[in-house]
Amino acid sequence: SQTIHQWPATLVQPVGSPLSLECTVEGTSNPNLYWYRQAAGRGLQLLFYSVGIGQISSEVPQNLSASRPQDRQFILSSKKLLLSDSGFYLCAWRGTGWMSPLHFGNGTRLTVT
């Protein structure tokens, strides 16, 4: 069966520090991978998605970036965090079929102080 791992679960970082969140998927090949952010009391905002190694699409211009160095690994990064980057970050994968649902990791709670 397929599983998705996302870490760390919580993170407290000072403003201006770098960020690296990692997500890996097991049990499937060539998944579509996604990073979402969920601000307090708000819905989900799609940040990045990837349909293959090295292929990244950005939905919202900001100081975050994403990379996919391996088929089942998706990394969210920032060189300098802002206060506004605080939120709940969710990694997700889905199969390539158009009816495939998203499958989410347990999320990372990021607090920028």
Partner: protein, 112 residues
């Protein structure tokens, strides 16, 4: 273009009474529709999905939803609420090659 509207930001029910969470969608093509549940500080869990087969879809934990094309609706229901159902619920629409579109969520409270 596609969009999804969850008509209630917050629904409160008593334990043992029915649950109705409303969702309307807009899509240029035949959509896939999903309901997800999110408990505090957790990821989203798939409850059920509609993908053009049966219009009444049964999901986990006793939830079900009915796809009504004429009303462009996909409401989520459960006959009897449990305390453990208290969570945030998201309706999601997808069609074509565009990214999935999430509703803003409905927070379900269950009163003992």
């Amino acid at each position: 273009a596609q969009s999804v509207t969850q008509l209630d930001s917050h629904v409160s029910v008593s334990e043992g009474t029915p649950v109705l969470l409303r969702c309307n969608y807009s899509s240029s093509y035949s959509p896939s529709l999903f309901w997800y549940v999110q408990h505090p500080n957790k990821g989203l869990q798939l409850l059920l999905k509609y993908t053009s087969a049966a219009t009444l879809v049964k999901g986990i934990n006793g939830f079900e939803a009915e796809f009504k094309k004429s009303e462009t609706s996909f409401h989520l229901t459960k006959p009897s609420a449990h305390m453990s159902d208290a969570a945030e619920y998201f309706c999601v629409v997808h069609s074509g090659n565009t990214p999935l579109v999430f509703g803003k969520g409905t927070r379900l409270s269950v009163i003992a």
